[in-house]
């Protein structure tokens, strides 16, 4: 909502600025039709835009001006001096109010009736005073954001990449210089600054997923309405940041999955009642960052998918034969949904069509280096997991060597890397084809040297890269050597090379040499490996097991604290790792805090104060409400917690000791951390409104209204003191403590004369009551 508001303010201010010359010209010649049109368009746009928010003053002003201007356009009214002044005064007022919204976030109180009256030729004197056209410069403090063309950002971004490359080249020369060479100091500083600039630049490309999520509740509501269903959507993780382009790319797949869930997944209220479920279906959309990936999970509590039906359909459509069908794992059965032309829906609907869609969704997700998994329980619901890379242009890859060439293999395809000398590996030849047997799995084996026509290195030892294609088929690629994991900035490969079908992109190594990124699917095709569902020969249910294992795993972030001990934190509380400079640290009240963007966040685990200019790494932790950071060393790793932990009842800070990689690791007690270091964000001085988390109507319908009225919304479990609570029943006021209670009633007419409750859809009265409460607080 705040983003939308900021956009509204920016747009309005831009229009006012653009309009200022028109206004002067119009004032000089009120009969000028094109100026009149421009001004009409402005008030019309403002009116249209602000109706979306709760800005009644703006709406009334622009509406009044629009009426008069359209009279003039129709020739029913002469643009005389007086009315021109009145219109200009209104534009000035709109500009003032917009500036206030920009700085306070809400529409200021005020009386505009004089201005509106002046439009109709009443009370002119007052207007003459304010009706000057020279005051249209927006207030300096109002503009905290700048709108830039994306091309400019991209240009700066590629400039920054050039700088980094030049720096790396310079660093190689620096390495040859003496240890105490005078150039070292300045170079290190330059290098640090360049890193900072690059980080900052990368961040300009990121947007919170919230920008995508805000439009969803409305879409879900409308769609469900059309289908006679009741669906509520819950989103979580809107603050996860994603590359701007990536958000655009995932928009369609997510929309499509939601449509599918509402149309095919969620049952009608009657069906749900019969099945013993609540009448409203629930769709949960959650996003989280996990390492260098973003995981988006879409969960519905609908009827799920009958995989028997799906398999039967696939067999009758000739996608697979019966023998194969009998061997499919649960996940593979679900993935049949993504085969073109298959759909379990018995009827065709206009919402999600029939059989078109899931294959397109999968293709779109895979094109950007992501993957998709589906599982479901019949009668209970369906879950789709999308795994996406953080940015479109940076792909984690493994660099490998064949002959003279260094090439990249996208990390997302790699299952395992193993040395050919390993005793678990054996090779078998069948016909002309080679197979590699790794432990119990036999997979087709492709020599990258042979495929690319490059002589093999003399020594017999080779590295085997096990690759898993999107369709599930696995194969082994042999290469001379596996070099390292690298984040490659991938550029498209030119059409002349794209035609080979072997390369997916180009990139540069640190020292500026071009590297090719292999197109794994293309390689498999060139080697004659079946990439479709027919290729899924594995009869075991390894994947299913993996899936279940993943469920029971508790991932943790492993790190060395500044005092040198190995510590771990549960992954769920860690949001990311940040580099901070000593200058970002402040000490007050006996505690360290770190400045991150516009937040001052408590810092724990700082045993050693860094020197000026030194940078340290901190883990950024969040419990959904407050944020804190924990200082850590350079070596962070992600691991799964072992099942047997030794609890440490005597120690508050340490929850348990775990043995990981045969070394003891202290698992920090997240609860203790937050109760000791956590602070509610104190820069938030918005009034607080308490809403019941149990009441989904309140959460979905009311919450946006309350938030747009400038309130922060908390629930009954939150310890924050609330200024106002909104209850559906006077009895609820005990569970929802607050300075004041607003009671909503479900039916329109008042029960009794003394009834102070507000009808739940009487938005104006509700907003007025909230405004009144806010005024009282101030």
């Amino acid at each position: 909502m705040d983003d939308l508001k900021a956009e509204f303010v920016a747009e309005t201010q831009e229009m006012v600025e653009a309009l200022s010359s028109e206004i002067v010209a119009w004032e000089a010649d009120p009969a000028d039709r094109s100026r009149l049109d421009a001004i009409f368009r402005f008030v019309h746009t403002v009116k249209g835009n602000c109706g979306f928010f709760e800005f009644p003053r703006l709406e009334a002003l622009s509406h009044a001006a629009e009426d008069v201007l359209s009279e003039m356009r129709a020739g029913r009214r002469e643009p005389d001096r007086q009315v021109v002044n009145a219109v200009l005064a209104i534009i000035d007022r709109i500009s003032d109010i917009t500036a206030d919204i920009a700085s306070n976030g809400s529409c200021p109180e005020g009386d505009d009736s004089a201005l509106v009256a002046a439009l109709n030729g009443e009370g002119t004197e007052e207007v003459e005073e304010t009706g000057e056209t020279g005051q249209l410069i927006p207030r300096a403090n109002a503009n905290r954001t700048v709108r830039l063309p994306v091309e400019l950002l991209d240009r700066v971004m590629s400039g920054v990449s050039d700088v980094v490359l030049a720096r790396n080249e310079l660093a190689r020369f620096m390495a040859e210089l003496d240890r105490d060479n005078l150039l070292r100091g300045p170079f290190d500083r330059l290098s640090a600054v360049i890193n900072e600039v690059r980080d900052g630049m990368t961040r300009t490309r990121m947007l919170p997923l919230e920008t995508l999520f805000t439009s969803l509740p409305r879409m879900v509501r409308d769609l469900a309405g059309q289908l006679g269903k009741r669906v509520v959507i819950e989103t979580d993780g809107g603050d996860v940041e994603l590359d701007r382009e990536m958000i655009e790319v995932v928009r369609d797949p997510i929309m499509h999955l939601l449509r599918n869930a509402i149309d095919h997944g969620i049952e009608t209220p009657d069906e749900r009642n019969a099945a013993g479920k609540p009448a409203s279906g629930l769709i949960k959309l959650a996003a989280r960052q996990s390492g260098d990936k973003i995981i988006i999970e879409i969960n519905d509590d609908g009827r799920g998918v009958n995989t028997d039906k799906l398999v039967a359909k696939a067999v009758s459509a000739g996608v697979i034969d019966e023998e194969r069908a009998a061997q499919l794992t649960m996940e593979e059965r679900h993935m049949l949904m993504c085969e073109a032309g298959l759909s379990t829906a018995d009827r065709v609907t206009e919402i999600s069509g029939r059989g078109v869609g899931m294959d397109v969704v999968r293709d779109n997700v895979e094109r950007i280096g992501g993957s998709l998994r589906i599982d479901s329980v019949v009668g209970r619901g369906l879950r789709v997991l999308l795994q996406l890379p953080l940015t479109l242009s940076i792909t984690p890859a493994m660099t490998i060597v064949v002959g003279q060439h260094t090439m990249g293999v996208p990390h997302s395809f790699i299952e395992e890397i193993i040395d050919s000398a390993n005793k678990d590996v054996s090779f078998e030849q069948m016909g002309d084809a080679w197979f590699a047997k790794i432990r119990d799995r036999r997979m087709p084996c492709v020599g990258l040297n042979t495929l690319l026509g490059i002589a093999e290195a003399d020594n017999k030892r080779r590295a085997l890269v096990v690759l898993r294609l999107a369709g599930g088929a696995e194969f082994v690629l042999t290469v001379d050597k596996v070099l390292a994991h690298q984040e490659l900035v991938i550029k498209a490969v030119s059409p002349a090379l794209l035609a080979t079908g072997l390369y997916a992109g180009t990139s540069l190594t640190d020292d500026g040499r071009p590297v090719l990124l292999l197109d794994v699917t293309g390689i498999a095709e060139a080697a004659g490996i079946d990439t479709g569902i027919e290729g899924r020969t594995r009869a075991d249910d390894k994947l299913q097991r993996e899936w279940e294992e993943q469920e029971s795993r508790v991932p943790a972030v492993l790190f060395t604290s500044l005092d040198g001990t190995r510590k771990a934190l549960r992954m769920s509380v860690v949001s990311r790792i940040e580099m901070v400079e000593a200058s970002q640290l402040t000490r007050s009240g006996g505690r360290w805090r770190v400045i991150l963007g516009d937040l001052i966040v408590p810092l724990a685990g700082l045993d050693k104060v860094p020197e000026d200019g030194e940078a340290i790494r901190v883990l950024r932790l969040g419990d959904g409400n407050s944020v804190l950071t924990y200082a850590c060393g350079d070596d962070t790793d992600v691991t799964d917690l072992p099942e047997d932990l030794t609890p440490m009842p005597g120690d508050n800070e340490i929850e348990a000791i775990a043995l990981i990689d045969e070394r003891p690791v202290e698992l920090l007690d997240s609860h203790w951390l937050f109760s000791n270091f956590g602070e509610a964000r104190n820069q938030d001085d918005r009034p607080v409104c308490r809403l019941s988390a149990q009441d989904s109507w309140a959460q979905n319908f009311l919450r946006p209204v309350i938030e747009s009225a400038g309130y922060r919304v908390v629930d009954e479990d939150d310890k924050t003191e609330a200024d106002v609570a909104i209850c559906g029943d006077p009895k609820e006021s005990k569970v929802l403590p607050a300075g004041q209670h607003i009671v909503l009633r479900k039916e329109e007419p008042k029960r009794t004369k003394s009834d102070k409750s507000i009808y739940r859809y009487d938005r104006d009265s509700l907003v007025a009551a909230l405004e009144a409460a806010r005024a009282r607080k101030a």
Binding site: G453, I454, A496, L508, G512, L516
Partner: protein, 151 residues
Amino acid sequence: MQEQLLVASIAGRRVAIPSGQILSVIELDEIECVPRSPPGVAGLTALRSRVLTVIDCAQVIDPANYSDEDGRAGEPYAVVIDIDDYGYALLVEDVEDVTEPHDKLSDAKADLGGGWSNFVIGVAETSVGALVVVDPVRIVRGVIAGATKAA
């Protein structure tokens, strides 16, 4: 005023390339060759943070008389152009000068042999004599068309 021409040699012949399309002329020190690349593609090279596809003009224009040996060594220069946002470096053997044609381009009026006719857009009279003018974009498009057909 006519568009200026860059005088260079391709496959041992002196040619002119319209300067308007040329982003820069670079000296190539290293080419990363690309396995299984289509005919005409010599490999990749990096120009600052850009990866350029290197096109071997001699192989494209006169494949019949082309042999691998006659030397990338003799082709240290490349003409950099942009087509549809992709960068290409076209290998040329020698870069002499930039000159201005005396008049508009005239037709070649004869079959120039090899593949020349496909890439020549005319003949220019210049202070260094008559030169065939080749279109670098046509050369690259020729490579792409060949590669797509083979695939």
